[in-house]
């Protein structure tokens, strides 16, 4: 053991450069794996929390006729995970009317719901109080608008069976979750959603029972239990989904047909688990290569001291050390750097966690974080032991003592080069890529409502094989240039080396393995950095496009649901400082067959000035042509691709929709003429919708109200939004949102994976890797030749002669590495963006190039390389005495 200790001491004192190089590589790998793993653990938990938080009522349990609410409540509340439940009575109204504003207003059919006094405290997001009291008779805002009713108005409700009652309005409310509140519980798969009712009245449950006492026509009432579940769910959305589905099924089984469950929380988690799978893929596609590069870098740094290590091994063996003992010394060295590197890496990961979690407002998931820390530590330790141990073991097995002293070695072609594995890998990558971007291919398959999900991990081989194949091809080209292009190399280095050009080119030819190793590792780190940066920039720019689409414009002003914006609001907004253009838009619902879709009524005159329309929003026509088409025909309509295909629409085809008319609040047929396909539209949902002329819609329905105003501004959008909030009538339910607020919402939202934490981690790692790769690989490579430079100095070489040697090699390695890294990085980014199209919303039409970051990367790569070369040149001016004495 004394030898081992003495050896370690010697290594730390004399070979600290080599040791610290490997340690840095291991620390980066460990830090990156741990931080990234922990980040994804937190992102998963965040997605689950977001999904759970977005649901106002977790379960809606519809009780079958004949089952008592008390029994059902007892059954539900004994189910594990249930926190509480409230009984809600659902009834129909044949008519809702009011003698308001001096005349009789009749809103037509509606719904009447009975709720308990504790309902809104258990489900605070279900009802939003706008005006008046929070208890008693509460009228939905749309109904209040239809009836011109106010707090204190007396409304008349007609129940099926002609029972009539008059109620005093105590408060006006908004129903933010009307879709789920009025869902058809237990609807068969494929059932198309219906528009939630406008005319809704809420009364205390006791009043509701009183109104329905006695004869009630069958099917006109139902009772639901609205259930709140514990939010102690697994952090992974898929696991959480499975659990809530399993619990709901268990409860349905206990009811034995006595109840059906509307599993709202499962629907929300169903969406989140797709995002979680994409997050997993991003980890695989963007995170794993970073860790691989860091470990490779550590191995290359370990190998850069190979010549010296082989000599040391030869000396040990001459002095009688057995191969086993020599190997043990190498393994101890590996374990030492592995342990130190892992320790530093875990410290870095903790730091990165703090910075990135603070920046993204993610809460770390302690157990996931701990697991990743342990995994990363083990990976780092193993990688270090292998990086140092494997070359030592290989040399011990294959080299004699005398050949161990060789510094140049035989120029044999490696097996992969003889088998053309580089070309094979690139070919296979192309095949997988072409298959993957073909039609009907989905990398992530999450069938709605089905527990099982599927991810096609074979797709991962396309970028992996491209990366590996391109690195090997770079190796082949670099070796070929140095081996066969000695004349060309000599000619290109002549400006730096003068008459020594031939000698320098010959030296580079003989050291082609060493130089190529440095070049390839710079290419690998460069391609990782470029692909990551371009992918992330493209993702960010698509988030802006998404925000613009979702928000509609710099600032959007939207009425709640389909209720109208106050009259004259658009004109007031136009007069707000900083506003350059506004357009008012209708947002209605229309039936095409039995399918309910959103309909946007626009003004072709003002729309384009208030928002940005991309040609990519439309199919086959430009944005300008689409608007022109609408402007030239009053009943023109743009429909979604799916609708155009389903109904066999051709330009000019008649399409009949059903729209709600103002006169009777009933849906009536309205003819339109199809003029084109729309893919995306400001404020429109991702699925099917229509775009038509607002004037035409207003004319045929008798309702000219607008639901949205889009605003363009030349000032800070959030400031303009604040100013507009000041002119919006209080408690009107109108939502004003700026694009920057929307962007913040999207990047931490449920429908997209938050990449900002990953981005900052990756871009930081890429910077460190690039600096380490070019700086340390060159520095250690040049340090290995200090003896050669000392000899040259002894022979009379001047600093400028030696600088010629150093600069020629440095420029070759840096230029080759940067060129290959850039080309491969851009190719990789293209492949990643195409393969992970599902993560983009909407898919990008071209890559976004982060010029500033890439210039910074170039600067750090070149800067580190130049610093290493300058250091090497400086050290040649006064060779170390120990080297001179050794000559």
């Amino acid at each position: 053991m004394r030898l081992e200790l003495a050896w370690l001491k010697g290594l730390v004192q004399r070979r600290w450069g080599r040791l610290s190089g490997i340690t840095v590589g291991i620390a980066l790998a460990v830090g990156f794996i741990a931080a990234l793993g922990s980040f994804f653990g937190a992102a998963n938990a965040h997605m689950t929390q977001q999904a759970v938080g977005s649901v106002s009522v977790d379960w809606q349990v519809q009780i079958a006729p004949g089952v008592s609410a008390t029994t059902a409540t007892r059954t539900v509340q004994s189910e594990p995970g249930v926190v509480g439940s409230q009984v809600v009575g659902y009834g129909s109204l044949s008519d809702l009317s009011c003698r308001c504003a001096g005349s009789l207003q009749d809103a037509g059919r509606g719904r009447i719901l009975g709720i308990t006094s504790g309902y809104s405290s258990m489900f605070p997001k279900e009802l939003r109080y706008l005006v008046g009291a929070k208890h008693g008779t509460l009228l939905a805002q749309q109904a209040a608008s239809n009836l011109s009713a106010k707090v204190g108005s007396r409304i008349t409700v007609t129940l099926p069976g002609r029972r009539v009652a008059t109620l005093r309005v105590d408060g006006i409310i908004d129903l933010p979750a009307a879709d789920s509140m009025f869902q058809v519980v237990g609807a068969p798969p494929g059932y198309l959603p219906q528009a939630p009712p406008d005319n809704v009245v809420f009364v205390p449950l006791s009043v509701w029972h009183e109104l329905h006492r006695g004869f009630v026509p069958p099917g006109s009432t139902s009772t639901q239990l609205h259930v709140k579940l514990s939010n102690a769910l697994p952090s992974n959305p898929s696991a959480a989904y499975d659990l809530v589905v399993q619990r709901a099924r268990h409860l349905e089984a206990r009811f034995a047909g006595g109840a059906l469950i509307g599993n709202n929380i499962a629907v929300a988690l169903d969406g989140a688990r797709k995002d979680a799978l994409y997050a997993q893929l991003l980890f695989l596609f963007l995170g794993v290569p970073g860790a691989i590069v860091a470990i490779l870098l550590a191995s290359v740094l370990a190998a850069s001291g190979g010549t010296r290590r082989r000599k040391e091994q030869a000396l040990l063996r001459i002095r009688g050390a057995t191969p086993r003992r020599v190997l043990r010394l190498a393994l101890i060295e590996g374990a030492l750097v592995g342990a130190i590197g892992a320790g530093i890496g875990l410290g870095l990961a903790r730091l990165a966690e703090r910075i990135s979690f603070n920046a993204t407002h993610l809460a770390p998931d302690a157990s996931a974080s701990r697991g990743w820390m342990i995994t990363a530590g083990i990976v780092g330790l193993t990688a270090a032991v292998l990086a140092v141990g494997v070359p030592a073991w290989r040399d011990l097995r294959t080299l004699s003592v005398s050949t161990s002293r060789a510094t140049v070695g035989a120029a044999t072609r490696p097996l992969w080069a003889r088998l053309y594995l580089d070309v094979g890998a690139l070919g296979l990558a192309a095949v997988i890529y072409v298959r993957s971007v073909g039609s009907n291919f989905q990398i992530v398959l999450v069938p709605e409502g089905v527990s099982s999900t599927s991810v096609d991990y074979t797709v991962f081989f396309a970028p992996l094989l491209l990366w590996v194949g391109a690195a090997l091809l770079t190796w082949r080209v670099s070796v070929a240039v140095l081996a066969r292009g000695t004349r060309a190399v000599a000619a290109s280095v002549r400006p730096l080396t003068g008459p020594l050009a031939g000698v320098v080119a010959a030296s580079m030819r003989r050291q082609r393995k060493l130089l190529t190793r440095g070049l390839v590792i710079i290419a690998l780190t460069g391609s990782f950095a470029v692909s990551t940066a371009v992918f992330n920039a493209t993702f960010s720019s698509q988030s802006v496009v998404d925000a613009l689409l979702t928000n509609g414009a710099d600032v959007s002003v939207a009425a709640p649901g389909t209720s109208a914006l106050p009259t004259g609001l658009a004109a007031q907004i136009r007069a707000t400082p900083g506003v350059t253009a506004v357009t008012a838009m209708q947002h209605r619902f229309a039936y095409v067959g039995t399918d309910l879709q959103d309909l946007f009524g626009i003004s072709t005159r003002t729309l384009a000035s208030a928002t940005t329309l991309s040609d990519a929003f439309f199919s086959g026509v430009t944005a300008r042509d689409a608007l022109h088409g609408l402007a030239t025909r009053a009943d023109a309509i743009l429909v979604a691709q799916e609708t155009a295909v389903s109904y066999g629409l051709k330009p000019g085809s008649l399409i009949v929709l059903r729209l709600q008319f103002a006169r009777d609040h009933a849906y009536h047929a309205v003819p339109f003429h199809f003029i084109g396909v729309v893919r995306e539209f400001p404020t429109a949902p991702h699925d099917s919708f229509f775009v038509a002329n607002a004037a035409y819609v207003a004319g045929v329905t008798g309702n000219g109200s607008h639901q949205t105003v889009l605003v363009r501004t030349n000032a800070v959008p959030s400031s303009v939004a604040d100013a507009i909030r000041g002119i919006v009538p209080p408690r009107s339910g109108v939502v004003v949102r700026s694009i920057d607020e929307q962007l913040a919402l999207i990047s931490s939202g449920l429908t997209t994976v938050d990449l900002s934490g990953l981005t900052s981690l990756e871009l930081a790692l890429a910077f460190l890797l690039a600096a380490t790769a070019s700086g340390m690989v060159l520095a250690l490579g040049l340090a290995e030749r200090r003896r050669m430079f000392a000899i040259a100095t002894g022979l009379g070489a001047r600093p400028k002669d030696l600088a010629g040697f150093v600069w020629s090699e440095t420029i070759f390695v840096l230029a080759g590495g940067i060129l290959s890294g850039t080309i491969v990085g851009l190719l990789l980014a293209e492949v990643l963006v195409k393969l992970l199209t599902g993560v983009f919303d909407p898919p990008p039409t071209r890559l976004s190039i982060p010029v500033v970051y890439l210039l910074g990367l170039l600067l750090v790569t070149v800067g580190s390389g130049v610093a290493a070369a300058a250091g090497a040149i400086r050290s040649t001016r006064s060779p170390a005495m120990e080297i001179l004495r050794d000559l």
């Binding site: 002293r405 060789a406 510094t407 140049v408 008459p499 020594l500 031939g502 000698v503 010959a506 030296s507 003989r510 050291q511 050669m788 000899i791 040259a792 100095t793 002894g794 022979l795 009379g796 070489a797 001047r798 002669d801 005495m881 001179l884 004495r885 050794d886 000559l887």
Partner: protein, 230 residues
């Protein structure tokens, strides 16, 4: 003014040292390897330097060749010019250890001093080949140092030291790796080149037969140089 214009330097002083000392390390581990040495070597003189291993012979050779400056004392090259212009054309050195540059062939190693002196590439190659022929290494000119035997490497080093026709030749144990016959050939060559050029020659050696062929003999013992004055 020193004569640095080329050609014979006659019997002028090539190198003169006045009470030079050399110390290695710093602080408590600072060790003197040469103490207070005074010597002089003239053009045409052939000098051997002997002494036990570690006595400081190589250090004196490095001082003479201008590779390392002394810690104290003064050293000058009156007939050759300032220290910065000595190598490769005025002074050359053949190192004790295997000092051919690993990634260069034997021929490239030998032509290197010529190229460093500004000789044109074709001429440098011709002269290097001619010198390698004289040391009996013509057969192996394209080989890498790691493909040569220890003796061949040492002779390659000598060829590299002589090829530039220096006025002062410094050789550190040039026959240490050779058999007697080869050693004699190497010393013959060193003496022949030095005589033809009128150059000074300083050889460190343990071999008494080699030392006996020199005009003067220096010895180093316990860091102290004793130079036998002519």
């Amino acid at each position: 003014m020193p004569d640095v214009s080329g050609g014979h330097v006659g019997a002028r002083v090539l190198v003169a040292a006045d009470r030079v000392s050399m110390a290695l390390g710093a602080g408590s581990i600072r060790t003197k390897v040469i103490d207070d040495a005074t010597f002089e070597l003239r053009g045409g003189e052939h000098v051997s330097i002997a002494g036990p291993s570690g006595s400081g012979k190589s250090t004196i050779l490095h001082l003479v060749a201008g590779i390392t400056p002394p810690t104290t004392g003064a050293i000058s090259w009156p007939a050759l010019g300032p220290a910065s212009s000595l190598r490769p054309s005025q002074v050359s050195i053949s190192f004790q250890g295997p000092s051919l540059m690993a990634p260069l062939s034997l021929l490239e190693n030998v032509e290197l001093p010529l190229l460093l002196s500004g000789v044109r590439e074709a001429q440098a190659r011709d002269e290097a080949v001619a010198m390698l022929e004289r040391v009996g290494l013509l057969e192996v000119v394209e080989r890498l140092p790691e493909e040569l035997s220890g003796g061949q490497v040492q002779r390659g080093g000598v060829a590299r030291a002589l090829v530039g026709r220096p006025k002062l030749i410094v050789a550190d144990e040039p026959t240490g790796q050779s058999d007697h016959v080869t050693a004699a050939r190497v010393v013959d060559l060193l003496l022949e080149v030095a005589s033809s050029l009128g150059s000074g020659l300083l050889i460190a050696t343990h071999d008494r037969t080699v030392a006996a062929r020199m005009d003067r003999h220096w010895t180093v013992h316990d860091r102290v140089l004793k130079s036998e004055m002519p």
